[in-house]
Each structure stands twice: as structure tokens, then as C-alpha cells.
């Protein structure tokens, strides 16, 4: 194994080459999910519930079936029955009936837009028209769309068959699927000893990842009983696993080809359309069927991030040291159990070394889409709450917010409330970099006329994951290397993975031809998620490159008729250790590969425990119009520990992009629920993600505290930057207007309300 290097003497790591898929993506040639074309392709359309909570009494598909141009109609009855079956379709073991009902409901609707039936027809318009002819009779039930209502005594209960696990106690007739408790020390005693205590309750609304490419899937069930799927997914092998669980078949019968993906942020880990397209294809007489989800349904029926309520209580001693902390986090799972509560619990107090803490987590089902991962799932919500309380305590102690955080910062050896002991982490280094940043040192300046300005800061944490990856390398005779891997490339990972192999082989990354393969050509890889791809698949690439060097040393030994132990490699040149005359470049050796034993290939696989947790601290200046409550971000700096930045331009891109999603979450984004349980703002017009005009340049500062668990020191990068923004903006608003904000989004109406300008 390559040792962690502090010398920064890398040739490839840390540079910014043009990404390998770049030309295809700027010319419009790149094939994304919906771009796939197949001979004889037909289109599907999905029938969805207009109600948020209802029983399905009957489904009449006869008119649709009779329509000219319709090839197939399906309902959940076309899937194998899932009663009392359990399995893993991507995010741990769950009730397979619920998982299947989330794809196509069999008997009950738990959220508006939930799929019920589907048709396949000669073209998209015909399929849509046929879908509109399917008649569903519902018994509409009262709906609940937030944790507060769902946990009231007389609340309508979503599941008769749910056994709530409340701190180990089995509870029926509840919408709280699970209550967990984690703790350390004796918080009750510590609070009694505390000098200052701040206790606040926060609310957040459900938000969506907002990827620009809607979900899509194309499937072809052939006469042999094999299924080919072309889709836009964060993990082709996960799609294969999930589809075979739903359809109850062996994994080898399904081949999944991942096409280019138009954003995911966690939302393209779960499957929605793939099993439907598969069954429609079979029922259509083995025709390939394509489905594209409309934007409205992407919002109301694909998995967003949970809203909820979070109570945070913290106590400090007279020196400002946090000695006790407590939190109760209640998150909306959506229509089926399984919110991001576990991760929220792990992250909420992670930036701080707190000896006494207790964290309760509640997973609550409500009549909203089944929530799934969104960039650091659970952590941004938790950070909003914790960072606001930390800011209040710093103010009470009259301390600078960075000094207060440094005094309490978690570091190597700190034990988190959920029991984990931190290895080497860069929390302190990030805070020091924030303190030294141009932004933090700059005067606040003068806001435009009619505005007031404030500055705020917050930290955030994400643990990052490891898991399984494979990389295969093949030497081409022109001195290039084909790199085949199975990790979806959402933003430059073909290159960041190749760069690591290139560094080991001592050749330029432009000599790499990386390919994201399908489930039958690439080695197994877990999802692109958890900020694992550059870390884990990159690690597999390093191993593959090391293995390739071993293979190539053998070839040199043949070439020179010496013992392979006497061959060494340095910076792209192989040489004989005992004869200075014998050396050969990688490129020249590649040209002779046919004469030295035939094709040279290698493989590297990993199964890693953790991705090396990382911290970020963000500084923001906001300008608030006191008359309208409108907030503009005037300046923004995001500081983050990337371990070692392999591909810095894209590390900065991840940091800036994550920060901007967090800014949207803080200021405007929310699922606005109508009284009937439907999301009212199901378009980009009213689900207000930031435009180019809403933002300043996002300044980024990369801190590098190498991860001891990776040869080059890589830490996951993509998720951390969405954690601090909500808290940072809340703290900046307080600095600007002198009031605290405990509810997100901090939208103009809410600001006017907190300022006392309007009553509601």
C-alpha cells in the first residue's frame, strides 16, 4: 500500500485536467437516461393518485386497454405478491410490500402522486391519453402531513400493520415507526451544573434534491426472460438488486446499463420506474418501453429530504465549555418508514466535544412522498438547530463564534454521543482556516440603501461512507489505459478515479480512457453516494494500478530475461535494479506487450468501513430589506476539509454547489402543503431553487488534513457543504436584524413576521 504522503510531491493528484467526458457533454452528444433510442421502442405512462391518503377500492383499465395503439396495461397485481416479505432494495432491510407499494400501490395510497397503474403505447401522447382513461375508485381518508399532526392522539394512522419500536417497546396504532436513544455521560446531572442553558425548538419543511433531469427508465424484457434496463441512476448494481427483489428473480437475469445522469444528490438511489417498464415490456410482447417522469411527479412522488421538528438544549460552564447537550429529532419519513433520522443523530453534535449528551430520534410516517437520501441526509436539518444554539451560547459568553467553536471543537479521540471515537479529523484546522480567511477578517461594509447587513457562521459534519468498489485496467498498445468501473459519474469522477491510478502508474491522466460500465462489464460497485466515489472507487483504482505494475514488472522480466524481483518502477519508467542500461517507459512497454505474454490487465477491489468524516465551516453576509423581508446573500465563503483534493476544480465545484443548495433550503425551498395533503408548489416556478441572479460568487477554501484511511488521504467531499448553510444564514440574519430564526425556510414573509411587521 502507498503511504500517506505529506510532501505534496504528486504529479497528477491536485491538478485540473479536462474531464474525460467533457467533450461529449458540451457538444450535446452525451447520452443521458431519456436519450436512449432502441428499435421498436414504445412509451409508457403512469397513473397516479390525486389523493394524499386513500384506500384503492377498484381499478378499471378496460377503456385504456381498448384504445388504439395501446400495447399493455399493468397494476401492482402484475408484480409477485409481497405480503410479509422482507428484503433490501438499497437502503437496508425493509418490508418489501411497502417498498413495492412505493413503486406501484396495491391497496392503499399514502401520498399524492403515488403510482397505481401504468400503460404502454406506441408513443408518449397515446400512452398519456390511455393512462387518463384508467378509472380508480378511492375511499379518501383524512391525511396528516407533518410530524406534529401525525403524532397527535387522534391522528389518522397510516399503517395498521406497523409495529412501532419505541425505545425497544412494541407499539401498535402509531405513526412513529421508531424511537431511538443514543447517549454519553450523564446529561441530566451536567445540566444541573451548567452555568448557562439554551433550549430551542426548530421546524423545517420537506425539501427536494431538485436535480434537473427527471427520473427515467427504459426496459426490455426479452423472449429468454432476461431484462435489459437503461436508466439514470446513482448505482447500476443497486438498480439490479432492487429490480430483482421486486420481480423475484436472480440478479443475473437483469442487466442494467447506467446512462449519463443529470444530477441525483441521493434522489436517484431509489428506483421508481424500472420494474414498471420491465413488466410493461413483457406484457407488450417484448417491446422496449421508455418512461419519463413529469416534473410535477418528480416533486410530489420521488423521495425528498424530510422536514420535522428538532429540540436542542445545550449547557455551558462558566468558561464557555459545553458540558451537556440534549436533542430530540423528529423527522418525516414520508409515506413509508425510513427517514434519515439515524444519520441526523450521528451528526447533530459531531463538531463538538461534549462529555454528557443524549439524542432521541423519531421516525414518523406522514402523507408525503417516501423520503430518501438528499446530500448528507439528516445532517443539514440537525446542523441548523445545533449551530443556532451554539451561536446563542457564544453570544451569552461574549465570545467570538469561531473561538467558542474552537474551545469546544471535536478532534481525534473525541467520543461522539452515538459512541463513535473520531480518528484524525480536520475540524480545528477548518475553523482556523475560517478565522484566517479574507472574508472573516473583512469589515462588514455598507449594504445597499434600505437594507441591513449581518454576518453569520456555522459548521457542519458528514461521516462519509466506504463500501464496495471495483476497478479494472487494461493496457492498450499505444500506451493508454482503459479503466472500467461501475460507479456512476455525476460530476467528474471518471477523471478523479483515473487520476489516482495515473499517479501510481506515473503516467499522465490524459492517457486514461475511463468507462462507466454496465452490470455485466464492470466489476461490482456500490452507489455513487455518501461521498464515496473518489474515495472508495479511487482506492480500488490505486489497487488496480499497483496490481498492474506487478503485471508489467513480470513483462519487463520477460523482455530483459531477468528475475522479476530485479525490476522496479518509478514515475512511469520500469528499470532493472541491477543494470542501469535496462529501462523502459510505460508507453514503450505497452507497445511491446504483445511480445511479452499478451494483453496486460489488472483489477482492484475494496470493501471499506468508513470514508473519513469531514467538517466544513461557512461564513455568510446577508442583506435584509426590512420593509419586504427579502434576503440577499452578499458574500459567501465555504471552508472544508477535503483530506487531499485529487481534482481541486471539482472539489471546489462540489463545495460551491452544496453551499448553494443549502442557501436555497435556508431561504426559500419547501414543500408547501395544502389542506388536502397535496404539495401546492410542484414546479420550478414555485419550488424556488436559486438562479444565477440570486447568488454572489461562492468563495471556497480547501483545507487538507489527509485521511489516514486512504493512500492519498482522500476524504469524501460532496455532502459536507450542504450542512452549514441553513445555520450560517440564520446566524447572519440574527446579526443583521437582531432576531433569532427557529423555522426554515427563512422566507420573506417569515422574516416580516419575526420582525413584527405582519401578524401572520
Amino acid at each position: 500500500m502507498v503511504n500517506v504522503s505529506d510532501s505534496k510531491s504528486y504529479k497528477v493528484v491536485g491538478t485540473n485536467p479536462i474531464r474525460h467526458d467533457g467533450y461529449d457533454k458540451v457538444t450535446g452528444r452525451a447520452i443521458y437516461g431519456a436519450d436512449v433510442k432502441l428499435p421498436g421502442l414504445i412509451w409508457g405512462s403512469v397513473v397516479r393518485s390525486p389523493h394524499a391518503h386513500a384506500l384503492i377500492k377498484s381499478i378499471d383499465t378496460s377503456s385504456a386497454e381498448k384504445m388504439d395503439g395501446v400495447f399493455a396495461v399493468m397494476t401492482a397485481k402484475d408484480f409477485p405478491s409481497k405480503d410479509n416479505k422482507f428484503g433490501d432494495i438499497g437502503e437496508g432491510t425493509e418490508n418489501l410490500k411497502w417498498a413495492q407499494d412505493n413503486i406501484l400501490a396495491s391497496d392503499k395510497i399514502n401520498y399524492k402522486g403515488q403510482a397505481i397503474a401504468a400503460v404502454a403505447a406506441r408513443d408518449r401522447n397515446t400512452a398519456d391519453e390511455a393512462a387518463s382513461k384508467i378509472k380508480v375508485v378511492y375511499e379518501v381518508l383524512e391525511s396528516v402531513t407533518n410530524v406534529e399532526d401525525a403524532t397527535k392522539k387522534d391522528a389518522p394512522v397510516l399503517f395498521k400493520d406497523l409495529n412501532g419500536n419505541h425505545l425497544g417497546k412494541k407499539v401498535k396504532n402509531t405513526n412513529i415507526a421508531e424511537i431511538t436513544r443514543n447517549g454519553i455521560g450523564d446529561p441530566d446531572k451536567a445540566f444541573k451544573e451548567a452555568e448557562n442553558i439554551v433550549e430551542r425548538t426548530f421546524t423545517l419543511q420537506m425539501v427536494h434534491q431538485g436535480y434537473i433531469e427527471p427520473h427515467t427508465a427504459t426496459a426490455h424484457w426479452d423472449e429468454e426472460g432476461r431484462i435489459r434496463i437503461w436508466t439514470s441512476t446513482q448505482g447500476a448494481f443497486d438498480v439490479r438488486g432492487a429490480v430483482t427483489e421486486i420481480l423475484e428473480m436472480d440478479v443475473s437475469r437483469v442487466k442494467v446499463t447506467p446512462l449519463e445522469i443529470g444530477g441525483g444528490f441521493g434522489g436517484k438511489i431509489p428506483i421508481y420506474l424500472e420494474p414498471i417498464a420491465s413488466i410493461l415490456s413483457k406484457k407488450s410482447g417484448f417491446k422496449p418501453v421508455k418512461l419519463v417522469m413529469e416534473r410535477t411527479n418528480v416533486f410530489q412522488a420521488s423521495g425528498p429530504a424530510p422536514g420535522g421538528t428538532i429540540l436542542v438544549k445545550m449547557g455551558t460552564d462558566k468558561n464557555g465549555k459545553i458540558i451537556a447537550a440534549e436533542s430530540t429529532i423528529k423527522l418525516e419519513a414520508g409515506g413509508y418508514p425510513g427517514s434519515a433520522i439515524g444519520a441526523a443523530v450521528q451528526c447533530i453534535f459531531a463538531p463538538y466535544d461534549i462529555p454528557n449528551a443524549r439524542i432521541d430520534g423519531h421516525d414518523v410516517v406522514v402523507n408525503k412522498p417516501r423520503s430518501f437520501a438528499y446530500r448528507a441526509p439528516g445532517s443539514p436539518q440537525a446542523a441548523f438547530a445545533a449551530e443556532t444554539v451554539v451561536d446563542e451560547l457564544a453570544k451569552i459568553h461574549g465570545m467570538d463564534p469561531i473561538e467558542f467553536r474552537l474551545l469546544n471543537a471535536s478532534k481525534e479521540g473525541t467520543r461522539r454521543a452515538d459512541g463513535v471515537i473520531f480518528p484524525k479529523v480536520g475540524n480545528i484546522e477548518v475553523l482556523e482556516a475560517a478565522k484566517a480567511s479574507a472574508h472573516w477578517k473583512a469589515p462588514l461594509g455598507t449594504p445597499p440603501k434600505g437594507r441591513v447587513r449581518g454576518r453569520g457562521l456555522a459548521s457542519g459534519y458528514w461521516f462519509n461512507i466506504g463500501m464496495k468498489s471495483t476497478v479494472n485496467l487494461q493496457v492498450n498498445t499505444d500506451g493508454t489505459v482503459a479503466l472500467i468501473e461501475g460507479s456512476t459519474d455525476i460530476g467528474g469522477t471518471r477523471t478523479s478515479i483515473s487520476m489516482q491510478a495515473a499517479e501510481i502508474l506515473g503516467i499522465g491522466v490524459d492517457n486514461f480512457r475511463p468507462v462507466v460500465g454496465d452490470t455485466e462489464t464492470a466489476g461490482y460497485a456500490d452507489v455513487t453516494g455518501g461521498s464515496r466515489t473518489t474515495y472508495a472507487t479511487g482506492y480500488a483504482a490505486i489497487k488496480a494500478a499497483e496490481n498492474l505494475i506487478t503485471v508489467l514488472k513480470e513483462r519487463c522480466a520477460i523482455l530483459w530475461s531477468i528475475d522479476e524481483k530485479d525490476v522496479d518502477h518509478n514515475e512511469g519508467t520500469f528499470f532493472a535494479t541491477k543494470d542501469p542500461e535496462l529501462k523502459i517507459s510505460f508507453k514503450e512497454l505497452a507497445s511491446k506487450i504483445g511480445d511479452t505474454g499478451g494483453p496486460a490487465a489488472s483489477s482492484g477491489s475494496v470493501d471499506l468501513e468508513s470514508g473519513g468524516g469531514a467538517f466544513g465551516t461557512h461564513i455568510v453576509d446577508v442583506d435584509v430589506d426590512l420593509e419586504t423581508g427579502k434576503t440577499d446573500v452578499a458574500r459567501y465563503t465555504a471552508i472544508q476539509d477535503a483530506g487531499t483534493a485529487i481534482y481541486p476544480a471539482y472539489v471546489k465545484g462540489q463545495i460551491a454547489g452544496g453551499a448553494v443548495q443549502g442557501i436555497g433550503w435556508a431561504l426559500n425551498e419547501e414543500y408547501y402543503m395544502s389542506d388536502d395533503g397535496s404539495m401546492a408548489n410542484t414546479s420550478y416556478l414555485d419550488y424556488r431553487i436559486p438562479t444565477a441572479l440570486d447568488l454572489p460568487n461562492i468563495e471556497t477554501i480547501i483545507v487538507e488534513v489527509p485521511n489516514p484511511g486512504h493512500p492519498f488521504g482522500v476524504r469524501g467531499v460532496g455532502e459536507v457543504p450542504i450542512c452549514p448553510p441553513i445555520g450560517a444564514i440564520g446566524n447572519a440574519l440574527h446579526d443583521a436584524v437582531g432576531k433569532r430564526f427557529y423555522d426554515a425556510p427563512m422566507k420573506p414573509g417569515r422574516i416580516l413576521n419575526v420582525l413584527g411587521k405582519i401578524e401572520k
Binding site: 420550478y684 414555485d686 424556488r688 414573509g749
Partner: protein, 288 residues
């Protein structure tokens, strides 16, 4: 999209004939940026879409010393890219520049915005305070009505079956008259107004306000001409005291609802703020 026929007549007469024949199963299309979204959303089930962009009168744009005439199919960009119109009618430009993004403004026009008749239509308030007249033609001939009488409810208007809007005429009221429009949105572009206010004032030879108009968007079933607030300004010295009073009155002349875009209180508050801001801007634009 549901199937429909497409036709692009080249005369008003032809367009009126087709629309009269199909009744509510046909819709005229100018920019199409609202209509195609509405068809996809299932608001209409149409036999025919009548593209009116090939009718010369509907595509003409002229501005002389007496009035500005805007064909009903003229897209926004043609209006705000005309330097003379921008100089003469800045209050209208305020709206033309913010309807959708640049892509939308290549297609969408003031005429379509008016005929779509939503309470939030950004150009309707400015048209009202500019005393614009809607020129309509149908099988029974031509008629003209003031824009403030055009919208009759959310998405409904004074057009009878088969009638189309041909053009809008806006009088040029001289150098002592000016107008402004501001809407409040949480972002800086690409939004529907939480509330919008258009104002205009004419300063008399005595330096006092001779006439004034204030129109409110997104705070009632149609854009509203705030008559009491407008009248409150007449004869007053233009400035803070009069404008604040008008703002306070305008707030009482709206009837907003609470929805995803804002609350009742928020909208009323914004009407007051934006009334004062647009009156100030109108005064600044008159100058001197």
C-alpha cells in the same frame, strides 16, 4: 400533450372565423408560453390552436407623439429593446423585462399576458396606470375597452366567443407624466408576484399632482385599479406625505388570499410598501 389541430391564419377575419366556429374548443396562441403549459396541465381540451403571430396587425409596434400601439402578438423583447419606447414608457418596460426569463421574453407578449388574465399578470397593472385601451375584434366588428375593465376574474376576461385582442393603445401623456411597476418576489427573477404595484402620476403646471393611478397585482381575483388611493393623490404636493397616505389607502383596497406565495397580511403590507416605492420612482422619472 393532448392532440389538437394547428392553424396559422394571416388575417384577423380568418382567425375570428375559426375561433367563432370552435368556441371554447379553440384558443388563440401568441407566444404560447402560458397556453402550452395550460394544455399540458389539462386546463383545456382543444380541437384547435390558432397561431395569431402571422397576422400583420397583431405583430405591429408603433410609437408616435400621440400614442404607443402594441400588436397583441408582439413579444416582450421587441418592446424593451426599442430605445424610444423605453424612454417614453418606463413603467411598461418595468414589466416587459421581468415576465419570465430571456427565453420566455422572446415569445411572450403584453397582449398574451393580458388575455391570460391572471391576478398576477405583471403587465396588466402598468397598462391600467398608463390608461391603455384594448382593441378587440370579433364577428360583430370592432370595439375598444379600457384595460381596467378587461379582466373579469382569475383567468377570465371581457372577450366574447370568437373575439380576439388585436392591439393595445397607450396614450403618450407628456413629460410631466410617468409610471413605474414593482413586484415582490422572493428570488430576483423567474417568479410570480407575491404582490405587485403599478403607479403613475401627472404633475400639473402648479407642481401639484393633477392625476394619478395605482394598480395592484396578485392581491385580488383580478388586477385592481385602486381608485381611492389614486384619488387621494389628486391636488397634493408629490412626496412622502402624500405617497405614504396613498400606500395606506391602497392596502385597504385589496382582497388577497393566502397561498404558497404569501399570506394575506404579507400581501397587504407589500401593497403599501410597493405603492410608496413606485410612486417615488414615478416622481423620480418625471424629474425636475
Amino acid at each position: 400533450m393532448q392532440p389538437f389541430a394547428y392553424t396559422a391564419p394571416t388575417t384577423v377575419k380568418e382567425a375570428v372565423e375559426i375561433l367563432t366556429k370552435h368556441g371554447d374548443k379553440a384558443r388563440p396562441m401568441a407566444g404560447g408560453t402560458d397556453l402550452l403549459v395550460q394544455i399540458r396541465g389539462g386546463k383545456y381540451n382543444l380541437d384547435a390552436v390558432v397561431d395569431i403571430k402571422k397576422i400583420p396587425e397583431l405583430n405591429s409596434l408603433s410609437n408616435d407623439s400621440k400614442s404607443l400601439n402594441i400588436g397583441a402578438a408582439v413579444p416582450c423583447h421587441r418592446i424593451y429593446e426599442d430605445p424610444k419606447i423605453s424612454e417614453d414608457f418606463p413603467g411598461l418596460i418595468d414589466a416587459a423585462e421581468l415576465i419570465g426569463g430571456i427565453q420566455i421574453q422572446s415569445r411572450a407578449g403584453i397582449g398574451g399576458n393580458l388575455c391570460n388574465s391572471t391576478p398576477s399578470g405583471d403587465s396588466i397593472g402598468p397598462l391600467i396606470v398608463l390608461s391603455a385601451v384594448a382593441n378587440i375584434e370579433g364577428s360583430n366588428g370592432k370595439r375598444s375597452i379600457p384595460v381596467e375593465d378587461f379582466c373579469t376574474g382569475p383567468g377570465s376576461n371581457a372577450l366574447e366567443n370568437g373575439e380576439i385582442l388585436v392591439s393595445l393603445s397607450i396614450p403618450n401623456q407628456g413629460s410631466k407624466f410617468n409610471s413605474a411597476y414593482e413586484r415582490f418576489i422572493p428570488r430576483n427573477e423567474m417568479d410570480i408576484a407575491v404582490a405587485g404595484v403599478a403607479s403613475s402620476i401627472l404633475i400639473g403646471s402648479n407642481g401639484k399632482i393633477e392625476s394619478a393611478r395605482i394598480a395592484l397585482a396578485s392581491v385580488g381575483p383580478t388586477p385592481i385599479l385602486a381608485k381611492k388611493a389614486s384619488e387621494s393623490l389628486i391636488g397634493k404636493e408629490p412626496g412622502e406625505a402624500a405617497f405614504n397616505e396613498a400606500g395606506a389607502i391602497a392596502k385597504t383596497e385589496c382582497s388577497p388570499i393566502e397561498d404558497m406565495r404569501g399570506t394575506v397580511d404579507q400581501r397587504k403590507h407589500l401593497v403599501e410598501v410597493l405603492t410608496v416605492r413606485t410612486l417615488n420612482k414615478s416622481l423620480e422619472r418625471i424629474g425636475g
